[in-house]
Every structure is written in C-alpha cells, then in structure tokens.
C-alpha cells in the first residue's frame, strides 16, 4: 500500500514538475466553450439468433491397464467397466489389439509366465463375450520379466500384476 502511494506521489510530482517546466509563460486560463455533450440514443438494429448448443458425446479414454490380485486372474469391477467401453469401440471400429499379461516378482518365473497369460486370457474372454472378434486379439505374457514398478514391496507388486491393452 505504502509503496503504491509513494509511486503515485512521485508520478504526480513528476507531472507537476514537467508542467511547471513547460509553462514558463504565465498560464492563461482558457475558458472552454460550454459545449454540451449530446447524447444520442443508440439502438441495436441486429437481433441475434438464440445461442445454439449441441450436446457432444465426450470421448472418455478408458483405462488400458487392468490390475489383479496376487495369484489371481479375476477381473475387478473397474476393469469390467473399462473393458465394456473398449469392446464397444472395437466393435464400432475393429482393430487388432495385443493383451500383454504380467505378474509380480514373487514366485517362479515360468509359473509367472503362465499366470500372466491366464490374466491376459481372462481379459480376452471378457472382450469376446462382449462381442469382440477373437481374431483381433493377440495374447502375450511377459510374466515378471517387464516390471512397471521396480521395488520389492506391496505397492510395486500391485502395479505389476496387470494386463496392458495395446
């Protein structure tokens, strides 16, 4: 507040100085003509049409990663919701997809390969039941070989037990 006040006073002072400097001659007071401002009435001639509003279907991107419980290949509810959306879009505009199954690091590597495949297959079966053609779906398991999160703890393991739709 103070600062603004000081700045303002300075500006006023400066203008005042300039003014005095320029007016070395005595200031003659000009008596301005008393012209009255005439207000004319402005009427808007253009009548605009009412605003058009179109309701567009928002393209919400469904999740492409689906998570699983330990040693399980059962789809969670949120995965089913997302997969139904994928199924709809795959039926509307078919394209080839790849389901990559993964496991966390616990347990043996080849068993985890099988587990990753089992998870990817449960996603595949869900999509087929939703009407997606099986020829569009490729399943590849990476087991525990391609971790999404590095770390030997529950959070990382939960991130790694997944199927990625690509």
């Amino acid at each position: 507040m103070n600062k603004t006040f000081t700045a303002n006073s300075l500006t006023v002072l400066l203008i005042a100085l300039l003014f005095t400097a320029c007016s070395s001659t005595p200031v003659e007071e000009e008596t301005s003509d008393t012209t009255t401002i005439q207000e004319s009435e402005v009427t808007t001639a253009v009548v605009e049409a009412p605003v058009q509003e179109e309701v567009m279907e928002l393209e919400v991107l469904a999740d492409t990663v689906f998570y699983f419980d330990f040693d399980k290949a059962v789809l969670r509810d949120e995965s089913r919701v997302a997969l139904m959306q994928h199924a709809r879009s795959l039926k509307d505009s078919p394209r080839s997809i790849r389901l990559e199954g993964h496991a966390d690091e616990r347990g043996t590597r080849e068993y985890n390969m099988a587990l990753g495949e089992r998870r990817a297959n449960s996603v595949k079966e869900f999509l087929i039941l939703e009407g997606v053609s099986s020829v569009l779906i490729e399943v590849v398991s990476y087991g525990e070989e391609r971790a999404a999160a590095y770390g030997s703890n529950d959070e990382s393991w939960a991130m790694n037990r997944r199927v990625e739709l690509k």
């Binding site: 616990r106 347990g107 043996t108 590597r109 080849e110 099988a114 297959n121 399943v139 398991s141 030997s152």
Partner: protein
C-alpha cells in the same frame, strides 16, 4: 540332518570382490563357525622357465575355499615353499595345523605347452596321496588350475569336483536405450564371462544340454516368446519353437535327444516333449490348470513338473510312457521350479510356507522338506552336477544377485553383481 546339526555346522560367509564382469574370480574371506573345515596348504607352484606369470596356486586355494569344506593355510604363515617331496618338513606343516599339502611345479614342454606336475600329501600320515600331471596351452592356465582343484577335492572328499564347470545366467540392466537383457556363460568362479546373446526383449530359462555344448532358452526378440538353442563354441543359434502363446521352460533330456517344454497353443500351459531331430511334438499333460517347469529324472523316463491343479503350485511326477501323474509335495502352499540332484532323490525347489519364498531341499523318498535359505525372494535353484551345492537367485537391497548354498545348508555365499540384476543361474553339467 536335523536342525541342530545344521546350526552346528559352520556357516561360512564368503565375501567376494569383483571387477569388470558380472562377478569375477572370488576373493574369499572366511568366517568360521565352531566346526572346522579341512585345512589345506597350497605351496606356491614353482614356475620353471619363462612361463606366463599367473598365480595358479591362488586359484586353487580360492576354488577349494569356495566349496566351504576347506580353509587354506595363509601363504605368509608358511615356513617354506616346497615343490618337491624331499623339501617337505611335515613337522612345520603340522605345527600350522595343516591337514593336507599340495606341492608342484610348472614347466614348459615345447612351444605353447605347459605342464604342471603336482602332488597331494597327507600331513598326518606323512604320505603322498597322489602324483599327477596336467598339461595345456598358455591360454588354458585357468583350466589347468581348476583341474588341479578338482583332483584334490575328489581325493579328499570322495566327491567329484565342480571347479571346471560353468554357469549360464541372465542379466537385466537399465541402460540409456532401455532395459538390456543378456545371456552369459562364465566359469563357475565368475571368470571368463562370455556374452551369448544381447536383446532389448526378455531372455529367460537357460538350460544346458547334457554334453554342456549347447544352451536352450526363451527369447522374446520377435515380440513373442520362442525357444532357441545355441552352440557355445560356434554361437550358432536355431529357433526351435514359434507357437502362439507360451513357449517356455525348456529342459534337455539326459540323452540329449529331446527337449521337454511348455506350450499353451491349445489354450493353456501343457508339458510337451519335442524330438530335436524331427521336431515332432508329444503332448504329456491334459489339464485346464497351469502345468510348467518340467525337469527330468536321471532315468529319462519320468519328469517332475509344477502344477496348480490342486489349487496352488505343487510338484508332480509324470511317467512319460503311461502319462500317469502323482503329486509329490504337500507341505507349504507354493512348491515350484524343481532342480534335481544327480542322485535323483534330492529336489531343490522354490518353497513357501508362510510369506517368504525360500530354496528348500525335498527328499523324494522320505518326502521331507528342509529349508536351505533364509532370504525372502529366492528363486531359480540349479544344483551342481556333483550334488554338493546349488546356485540360486536372490534379492538384496532390491537387486537381483546370484548366491550359492550347499545342500546341507552349511555353506552359503553371495556373488554380487557389478550393476543391474543377475538372475536364473543354470549350473552346467560336467564338462567332457
């Protein structure tokens, strides 16, 4: 062996230094328990003539100490360095507490031929146990050293030595252009590491041919898993399978003609045999559950494998001719990836009773399980061809490392990696 005997056995912690390779020749510091290993002195082998400078005696010391059954008499404690029997004063060695003494000399026999003559002496009985000669080229000095270790170990323990064997393993290292997977083969002491395959895609499940000339493994280099075999000497590769779904867990039959493997081309993982000549497949299992990780019984007529047909992974036995299946393990809620000792009786496997995954030994006759390791994410056991030790993969500070443990759990050591993760050790059969 009961728990008390296990505890009473000396736990030997071997600390290892390493250099330019995944791990390298082991420099060992031994922490002894209350049970003393055999004391052996390796008198520095005398170099007669102008031969390459290489401390072959140190290599023999390291080999023998790594077995956990021996402790080497420090060189600085030795009062003399005899190379011939007439120079040996047994009393000096007895005062040092030495049980056995190795002496020898290395000499040149023509162009690029080195001969080492060595003897094993018993200090107690003051007798020569054996005299032996080995020879080879200058490039084979390490081989000659390991051969000496094998001979000495065998003469004292009655067990064939594994110092001339090799190990295959996978490394995964995060580099600038992403994760790089490598398949390596090295001497069992970590020296002479050789790169077999480098890939941006995972490599898994190395398995040795019984003649130790080839490896079978899984590689994702095409974007899908496929089984390959590769000749170690020529590096020549052959793609063996390319089926939809899993192509995994290759295991060479004892006669080398057949590969047991896992395919899920018909819907879910099943065990198959493939004739390596004709590539003909023989499906062995028919079950909607996971069947994987086949391993051969020494008779070549039975397989052990992992299946979750009982609700959780357990070890089953399968007769190849009749396809009859028998469940073997019942203790614990996770028993998988068996590796059978050459006696056909002791199965090393991944075992979980509560939360942690350990390596355990399962006796096929008594059906008893003994835990061999104490860390919590142990996997991929691979038994040495003499059945005395096994290597496995473990995690330490969130990094994958290889470790070894004796089958009586008395000896344990870690092979720390330079960088990244090391995993899936596969101990070779005896070479030649």
């Amino acid at each position: 062996m009961d728990i008390r005997a296990l505890v009473c056995r000396s736990i030997i912690v071997l600390l290892i230094s390493f250099s330019g390779i995944a791990w390298s020749e082991l420099v060992i510091r031994v922490t002894k328990g209350n049970d003393s290993p055999t004391k052996i002195a390796i008198s520095p082998i005398v170099n007669v003539g102008n031969l390459p400078r290489f401390d072959i005696s140190r290599l023999v010391e390291n080999d023998l100490q790594r077995s956990g059954l021996f402790v080497a008499t420090p060189r600085e404690d030795m009062l003399s360095f005899p190379s011939m029997l007439k120079d040996v004063y047994f009393r000096d060695w007895r005062l040092l507490g030495t049980d056995y003494l190795v002496i020898g000399k290395m000499s040149s026999k023509g162009p690029n031929k080195i001969e080492i003559e060595f003897s094993l002496l018993s200090v107690a009985s003051q007798k020569v146990i054996f005299r032996h000669k080995v020879s080879g080229s200058a490039a084979q000095l390490r081989d000659l050293g390991h051969l000496i270790s094998d001979k000495v170990y065998n003469a004292i323990t009655g067990i064939r030595g594994i110092f001339s064997t090799r190990v295959a393993y996978i490394t995964a290292i995060r580099e600038v252009d992403g994760m790089i997977y490598r398949l390596h083969v090295s001497d069992v002491d970590g020296a002479r590491e050789k790169l077999m395959l480098r890939s941006h895609e995972p490599i898994m499940s190395p398995s040795w041919s019984p003649d130790a000339q080839k490896l079978a493994y899984v590689s994702f280099e095409t974007g899908r898993p496929a089984i390959y075999t590769q000749n170690l000497a020529t590096a020549a590769r052959e793609q063996i399978t390319n089926f939809a779904g899993l192509n995994g867990a290759p295991a060479w039959s004892p006669d080398g003609t057949t590969l047991a493997l896992v395919l899920s081309k018909d819907g879910n993982p099943e065990i198959y045999l493939m004739d390596l000549q004709s590539k003909q497949l023989n499906r062995l299992t028919q079950h909607f559950s996971i069947d994987t990780e086949p391993t051969w019984m020494p008779d070549g007529k039975n397989l052990l494998f992992t299946s979750d047909r009982g609700g959780e992974p357990q070890i089953y036995k399968l007769n190849i001719a009749t396809k009859a299946i028998e469940r073997l393990t019942f203790e614990g809620n996770y028993n998988a990836r068996g590796s059978l000792a050459p006696d056909g009786r002791t199965l090393a496997m991944v075992h979980r009773k509560t939360g942690a995954f350990h390596i355990a030994a399962f006796d096929l006759q008594t059906r008893r399980i003994r835990e061999l390791t104490t860390t919590s994410l142990d996997e991929s056991p691979s038994v040495a061809p003499n059945g005395a030790m096994l290597m496995y993969a473990m995690k330490q500070e969130e990094r994958g490392m290889l470790a070894a443990v004796s089958l009586d759990a008395g000896v344990r050591y870690i092979l720390p990696a330079r960088s990244g993760d090391v995993r899936e050790p596969a101990w070779s059969p005896f070479i030649r």
